[in-house]
Symmetry: C5
């Protein structure tokens, strides 16, 4: 499904069709590329294979780039097929209600004349990105590369609340581990570890991707954009550092939790030890003497 | 055993012998190389050493490449011996019934005039690959390199159901770990870990192999094929990421399982603690007083 | 907030305004750059975004460098934007009272004509650095690069007492682990591990930063300064070595602690075992014989 | 002790002295180098320092190479001293009887005119290697490099039965861990881990050595030999992969074993829990009522 | 304190002052450099900062090299300041009595005209090194580089007995872990781990240092010396391998120890289980019947 499209000249959006329906047709969009406009920006959401094929034909996209755009849980990557720069990303979203992280997939295919944005899942909605971009025509005038950076940067920034959500969950788990409560947060720790590992699969390869974009020689990029990709790369590396730390913290929490379980078991053990001692002494005495005393207070009471 | 052979010109298969028996003879196949055809594609299954020797003589293959083709659980690798590009792969197959992974070995030896495919084990049957390839003559026209990529890609794609099978097993194991059941899945976790490690030995070196193929300068490769190998490389790296994650998950599961065993032990301990307390109090009282009360209800009942 | 400013020529501070108020205004400071002075050194503390914007306009700083200067828990890094060399650092400070480590952020933005130092948090106060520097005019005459090195070196040297504080805490924890005390230092170990991981996030990327500064070709640097950055790099690597060791020690301490908990549990177990044995023997005898003896000493005593 | 020597021309062994005693003297052997023969191949076993000195003088070997040839548990390495290519290897041998691995040391010193093979320990006897080599004169005609490769390859191939022996031991250990037997294989696992670590010290640096030999430019090597060293390198990397896997398996086995110990403890705990419950109920009842019933069946029986 | 000094020409020591007091004065020593002698070799032990300053002024040493020579637990490193090659090392010494490892620091500062050796701590006394060197004038004639190599090599060789000491301690610990003794060697294992980590901080960076020295282009080095540094590098890498193995062994020992503690706990548990069962049966019977039997043997005995 096409969820947005526009043709841009000098960073300014050209008027859509008179009937206000936008460019709903790939042929029409492709035709618009480079004729009146500088470039065309098309957004697709969960496209059918047929839609992708049509788009590929219209914009002359390499079959391999097309494969990347399918919802196949691709690894984040950057590739150049002919003159199309393809970037695959995995946006992430922290769901407060379930305290879990959801992942989507976004594929960006950019040539100097167009950029196609294919989204699967709604992990990051990129709300209003197009209209926000359109308010900065001088920036947009740099072409598809500027759009590409804006989207990549938005997705990386959206990792920060995910980190925060996970950090809060780790804090909660730590409190449970070191509380006197007997609830064992083992499963919670394990699930968090799993989530952090999944997050790592989205973020760690992205550092490579941005590392390549900061030095890549491709017509949609320029020195200024490469500098911005370098800056986004710093942010991704910060995310990766935090993920690494989280993993180590959770490993530590798992082990600390095991120790705490043993410590509490120790306490039970000591209680048993005390009871058995209490039990042993009078039993011994009573067993031998107790039942034969003839005079004991209260004995004959009724 | 020769399980398939064909001579191709411009990507189209040349007619076999009039008697329909195909080229059953290496000499005949070798003679066909480059005379009427562009190249010859021969498939061998569990060949005897003698068959391999014959094939090597016929196609002029280096003794070291020949050694690689023997069933010796070779490490995935790529090597160039004279004009023969040799690739060794370890296909994997998930067996639902036993929930285990089986591994085979495939050696590809390609020169511009021929490609020899030697299979051991039946982990990946490459069903119908030849006939599927023959339906795309324009692709097959690229020669032995195209066949090589098709087989490598097929084997890497066949890793995905293995990953899925393992992921399902991990899910099952997690459920057992965190259920209230007292069945300890320790052995299941350990066996899975072992399987994942074995899988890693097949997949991790393959990332190196494809990394080399994407830049290798060799007559059976061209820019387009290198691009396709690069794409397959991305898929392998995704597999490697998942294997790494699985290993960490299983380490976590092993540790979580130990904790759960301790937690359940704690519950038993608390039960004992409770029983001992119950036991201790009346025993003490009874030991001293109990047996000497003269009037107790029901005492004289018969 | 501007917390310090000065214009320097040949390493000597030029007189401030006649009213002694210093250069409180960015325009004024910017105007001073390179007119009468060689360079201007401005220090900002927790600046508002507006202040940063003003400073950026006055000194012609790239928006990306500006972003780095905001208090966003950036990863230590070095970047060159146009002619501005930007270094982000995370100073650390060991707080004796709480036995915790606090982190701040310092961003240095240097061109041949100015250096801007933006601090967030007060982890390292850089006490008197300016006046100490002004006592070495021959060194200061090297320009903004000399100021940059002095600050970086000061921050790295301030890591040493943090290491010492952590080492002392680890010693304390070890003593508790191996004492006969039944206090379990699990949480203390875990918290220390967390602290060391946080510290690592500040120090490990700094080794990269200094590794780049020792070879970077930029107008604010010269061979002598690069040599000094190389020396500071050695210090950072020493800090990183120690952090790595601390992490391994704490992992070992966590595991040793678990063992000690089990050892102590064993002692309880043996006590119970002894008591139960003591309990069992007389109970058996007493149960069968004891209560029916007719003559026992003290039996008829009152 | 000289355990073998021979002078070779065109890959064919020249007749020894008329008295059939071979060349027992280094001077004589050195004199033979390059006069009538192409090269001389001398094997030494546990030589005294004096023997080594004599050999070094005779063949003009650098003192550092000589040091490597002493039995000092050197790390596998390759070095070029003047025109002498020196390779140090650590052969390994699996001893069935004790289920342990033994290590030796072999130093190869080759120039175009001679190869000296110095062995310590008998981990790999290189049985009949000389006579096997002498049956392939066309191969031996390549000179000392061919001998060097044959020995290196033989030692690497001898690693395979060691791997198999260790793999069998791991299988046994796994069976014990997951059996219902109460024998704890902790020490067996630990000893295996130690063995695997020792093996790693022999094999892991060898991958570096062969990686260098496959590209080294030295008169005793040629393209064909380099290709063979490359092939041996693949085998070593396979060994290293397996060692890495074994280490991870043994770590997993150690942890799984701990869990199994706890699981079995749990079973004991539940038994105790059951007994205590059985004990508690009648004791309570009996303690209060039991001993005072006047009419009980069998009470007055004698 | 100057603990030794000498001026050398052609590897032979020049006569000291007529009064036999040696060159006690830095000025005098500096003056001797290159006038009558080829180079001057000065040894300092725990010098005061003033002594260092004087030496630095006399020999023209860079302030950064001077800082390295202070006793500040520097990381092993190599640096070139102007024409001074500076190497910092951390010698180690195994103390039998306490079974601990002690570390010192040695800084070598060499130019073609002099070498200054500054020692802190007495971990390696370098006993008689000067007189041993003076017996090999042909070697000493290579200048300060030869002295530098001799000291570095001596320190690396002194690591071997440390490794042996640690290996013996590990053997002892293993014996305790797997003995039936109930002494838990947890603290011993932990302390050894700590020691091995400390040792790693001395030895691991040294491999880098020697890796640089084997290729460094500096006037005090020549091809022969670089070859010797390469050989020493091999020795350091062997030490590093062993340290890595020791760390893994100790981690394994810590875990094995925990398992053994649990196994022994299991034995106690089974004893308790047996006692409780013994206790339960007669108690039940006795509780109901026992005390009311009228005829029991020995009942009426006095």
């Amino acid at each position: 499904m096409i969820i947005g499209s526009g043709a841009y000249r000098d960073g300014v959006r050209l008027p859509d069709d008179p009937d206000g329906s936008g460019h709903q047709d790939f042929e029409e969009l492709a035709a618009a590329c480079g004729v009146h406009s500088d470039f065309v920006w098309v957004g697709l959401f969960d496209p059918s294979e047929e839609e992708l094929q049509t788009a590929a034909r219209a914009f002359g996209i390499h079959p391999l780039a097309l494969e990347d755009a399918e919802a196949s849980h691709e690894r984040p990557k950057v590739d150049v097929y002919d003159d199309t720069l393809t970037v695959v990303l995995r946006p992430a979203h922290y769901v407060e209600a379930t305290e879990t992280v959801e992942f989507g997939q976004i594929t960006l295919m950019a040539s100097p004349k167009h950029i196609l944005v294919v989204r699967h899942g709604d992990a990051v909605p990129l709300v209003d990105l197009r209209s926000r971009m359109e308010k900065k025509p001088e920036w947009l005038a740099q072409g598809p590369g500027a759009v590409m950076h804006a989207i990549v940067d938005e997705i990386v920034e959206a990792y920060v609340p995910v980190l925060t959500g996970i950090a809060d969950d780790i804090d909660e788990v730590e409190e449970t581990v070191f509380s006197t409560s007997r609830d064992s947060p083992t499963q919670r720790i394990y699930d968090l570890k799993r989530e952090v590992l999944e997050f790592g699969k989205a973020a760690v390869p992205l550092a490579d991707v941005l590392g390549k974009l900061r030095v890549l020689n491709h017509p949609v990029l320029n020195d200024e954009l490469r500098r911005y990709f370098a800056d986004t790369n710093d942010d991704v590396r910060h995310v990766v550092d935090q993920i690494t730390t989280d993993r180590e913290l959770l490993s530590g929490a798992l082990e600390a939790n095991l120790t705490q379980v043993s410590v509490r078991q120790n306490e039970d053990m000591r209680k048993i030890s005390a009871w058995v001692a209490i039990l042993a002494v009078p039993t011994m005495i009573a067993g031998i003497y107790g039942m034969n005393f003839e005079e004991m207070p209260e004995l004959r009471s009724r």
